[in-house]
C-alpha cells in the first residue's frame, strides 16, 4: 500500500512537472518555482517565527504577579490567533484591493475594512466565550483562582 502510494504519487507529481514544463516557456516555469520557493521561505522564516514571537508576547503580557499566566485570556488569545490569523492572511487580496478598478463596479464591492473589524470583533467575543467553557481548554481550572503556574521553559 505504502509503496503503491509513493509510486503513484511520484508519477502524478512527475506529470505535473511535465505539464508545467510543457505549458509555457522556461521563464514562466522559473517564476512558478520562485513563487513556490518564496512562499515556503515566507512561512518558515517569517510567519512561523512571528507566531512563536506572538506566543512569547502573550505570556509576557498576560503574566500574573505570582509568575503564572492569566489562563482564560491566554486561551482566548490562542483561539483568536488560530481563527483570525489565517482568515486575515487569506483576505490579503481583498483587504489590499490590489485589483480595484473603477470600471469593474461589481468587483471588490464591499467595505472590507469594516467587514474585517466586525469579523474580528465576533471572533474575539467567541474566543472569550469559548475560553469560559471547557470546549478548548481544561474544563476543571488548574490550581486555585484564574491563573495557573506554567512551568518555565526547560533550557
Amino acid at each position: 500500500m505504502r509503496a503503491l502510494l509513493v509510486v503513484a504519487g511520484g508519477a502524478v507529481l512527475g506529470y505535473g512537472m511535465w505539464l508545467l514544463a510543457d505549458f509555457s516557456e522556461l521563464g514562466q516555469v522559473g517564476s512558478v518555482a520562485v513563487w513556490s520557493g518564496v512562499a515556503i521561505v515566507l512561512h518558515d522564516a517569517v510567519l512561523a517565527p512571528a507566531v512563536l514571537a506572538l506566543g512569547w508576547l502573550a505570556r509576557v503580557l498576560l503574566r500574573t504577579p505570582d509568575g503564572g499566566v492569566r489562563r482564560r485570556l491566554h486561551t482566548a488569545a490562542v483561539v483568536v490567533v488560530v481563527v483570525l490569523g489565517p482568515v486575515t492572511l487569506l483576505a490579503i487580496p481583498v483587504l489590499g484591493r490590489f485589483a480595484a478598478d473603477p470600471d469593474k463596479s461589481t468587483l471588490l464591492n464591499r467595505d472590507y475594512s469594516t467587514g474585517w473589524l466586525l469579523l474580528a470583533g465576533a471572533v474575539v467575543v467567541s474566543a472569550l466565550l469559548l475560553a469560559l467553557t471547557g470546549l478548548v481548554s481544561e474544563a476543571s481550572g488548574r490550581g486555585p483562582g484564574r491563573s495557573a503556574r506554567v512551568p518555565r521553559p526547560g533550557r
Binding site: M1, L5, V6, G9, A11, V12, L13, G16, L19, L20, F23, V29, V32, W35, S36, A39, I40, A48, L52, G55, W56, R71, T75, V78, V79, V82, V83, G85, P86, V87, L89, L90, A91, I92, P93, V94, L95, F98, A99, D103, K104, S105, T106, L107, L108, N109, R110, Y112, G115, L118, L119, V123, L130, L135, V136, S137, E138, P153, G154, R155
Partner: protein, 387 residues
C-alpha cells in the same frame, strides 16, 4: 521554546500540541479539501478545454456552479487547515539529518517531497485566492500554472501519505491525547488542549469558508464580509468584463449591428428587431464564474437551435460563437452539438425581464446550461456552424 540563542532542534519546541496525533487529524481534513479542490479543478479545466473527447452533459444546469463553488470553498477552508498543520509539524524542520549515507539519502528524499508538497500547496492556495480577487501579481499564465501545480501538489501529497501511513494509522486509531507518537520533549501543557486546538482549527476553516467564499450562496452572501464580490450588479448578476474593458462600446451600440449566422456558403444577417421577431423563450440559468461566484438569472431570447435551423445546419454540428470583442479572453467559445441544440441554450436579449445591459452583453449574449461563465460569450457578432 528556549530563549537562548542557539540553533533550535526538535526538542526546543516543548508544546504537547505539536503532536502527530494532532497533525494526522488536521491532515485528514486537509487531504479531503485538497481532494475536492483537485477533482473540481480538473472538471473546470476540462470544461474550458477547446475540445472534450468525453462530452460534458448539459444537465444538471447547476453542475458547473456547484462544482466551482465547492472548488473555491474547499480551497479557502484549506488555508487555516494548512497553516495550523504546518505550525504543528514545524519542529520537524529542525530534526538533525542523519550522518550515515543511506539514511541521509532517504531523509533528503523525504524532505524534498515535503518541500514540493508545501511549495505546491502554498502556490495553489495563494494564486487561487488572488485569482478570485482578479489580482495577478505574476508573469505566468494562471490557468496553466494552477492546473500543473495541482498535479504536483496531489502527487506530493500521495507520496507524503505513503511515507507517513504507519504514523497516520496509529495516530488516528488512538485518542488525540495519546502521547505514544510524540517527540520526547513535547510535554508542556498549553493554554488550549489538543481538542481545543482542533476545534479552533475547524472554527477557522468554517469562518474562512463563510467569510471569504460564501458570497456565492444567496443567504450567506450577507455575512461573507471578505468575499471578492457581492451578489448584485445590473440584473442581479456581477460583471467580470465591462463593455468598455472589452473595447466594444462603439460596435455594440451601433444601430447597424447584425448577428450573422453562417453555415458553409450560407450566411444570414439578423438585426436586433429581426431577433426580437423570432419566437422568444425564457429560462432560468446561472452564470457561474471560474472564480467561484455564481448568480442565477432569468434569460429571454432566441434558441440557438432555431437560428441554426434557419440556415439548415445539421443537428450534430458544433457552433463557434464569436464576440464583437477583438482581444482578451472570452471572445470566442465553441458550443458542442448537444449544447447548441439544447432547449435552454439561448441567444439572450433580456435578463430578468429587462433589455440586456451593455455590460451584460447587449445586443445579445450566449447563455447555456452547465458551462463556465467565461464561455457564455457576450456581445455576439457571429454564429459559425463548424460542419
Amino acid at each position: 521554546m528556549s530563549l537562548t540563542m542557539r540553533i533550535p532542534d526538535q526538542d526546543s519546541f516543548t508544546s504537547r500540541l505539536r503532536s502527530p496525533a494532532v497533525a494526522a487529524r488536521i491532515g485528514l481534513w486537509l487531504g479531503i479539501c485538497f481532494g475536492i479542490a483537485f477533482v473540481t479543478g480538473l472538471i473546470s479545466h476540462y470544461a474550458q478545454a477547446s475540445s472534450q473527447p468525453v462530452p460534458i452533459p448539459t444537465r444538471p444546469v447547476w453542475g458547473y456552479r456547484l462544482s466551482q463553488g465547492l472548488h473555491v470553498v474547499a480551497g479557502t477552508a484549506a488555508v487555516p487547515l494548512l497553516l495550523v498543520k504546518m505550525w504543528v509539524v514545524y519542529p520537524r524542520l529542525f530534526v538533525r539529518p542523519p550522518r550515515r549515507l543511506a539514511p541521509l539519502v532517504l531523509t533528503v528524499l523525504e524532505r524534498g517531497s515535503i518541500a514540493t508538497l508545501v511549495g505546491a500547496a502554498l502556490f495553489e492556495l495563494s494564486t487561487g485566492l488572488a485569482n478570485a480577487a482578479q489580482w495577478y501579481p505574476w508573469s505566468f499564465s494562471f490557468r496553466g500554472a494552477h492546473h500543473a501545480m495541482a498535479w504536483v501538489a496531489i502527487g506530493s501529497l500521495l507520496v507524503h501519505i505513503g511515507v507517513k501511513l504507519p504514523v497516520i494509522r496509529e495516530a488516528l486509531a488512538h485518542d488525540v491525547d495519546d502521547t505514544a507518537l510524540d517527540a520526547p520533549g513535547a510535554t508542556e501543557e498549553g493554554p488550549v488542549t489538543r481538542r481545543g486546538l482542533l476545534r479552533s482549527t475547524w472554527l477557522a476553516a468554517g469562518v474562512a469558508a463563510v467569510a471569504a467564499a460564501g458570497g456565492t450562496f444567496p443567504v450567506v452572501d450577507r455575512i461573507a464580509v471578505l468575499a471578492a464580490r457581492r451578489s448584485g450588479g445590473p440584473g442581479g448578476i456581477p460583471i467580470n468584463r465591462t463593455a468598455r474593458a472589452a473595447g466594444v462600446l462603439t460596435s455594440a451600440t451601433d444601430p447597424a449591428w447584425t448577428c450573422s449566422i453562417q453555415f458553409g456558403a450560407r450566411t444570414l444577417q439578423l438585426g436586433y428587431d429581426d431577433l426580437r421577431g423570432l419566437e422568444q423563450h425564457t429560462t432560468e440559468l446561472p452564470i457561474a464564474c471560474v472564480e467561484g461566484w455564481s448568480a442565477s438569472g432569468t434569460w429571454t431570447g432566441v434558441r440557438i437551435r432555431d437560428l441554426l435551423a434557419l440556415v439548415e445546419a445539421p443537428a450534430d454540428a458544433e457552433v463557434a460563437v464569436h464576440s464583437l470583442q477583438q482581444r482578451g479572453g472570452g471572445r470566442l467559445s465553441v458550443l458542442p452539438a448537444h449544447f447548441a441544440t439544447d432547449d435552454r441554450t439561448l441567444l439572450a436579449l433580456e435578463l430578468n425581464g429587462e433589455r440586456l445591459s451593455l455590460d451584460h452583453g447587449f445586443p445579445v449574449r450566449l447563455i447555456a446550461p452547465n458551462r463556465p461563465g467565461v464561455l457564455q460569450t457576450k456581445w455576439v457578432a457571429r454564429l459559425e456552424v463548424l460542419a
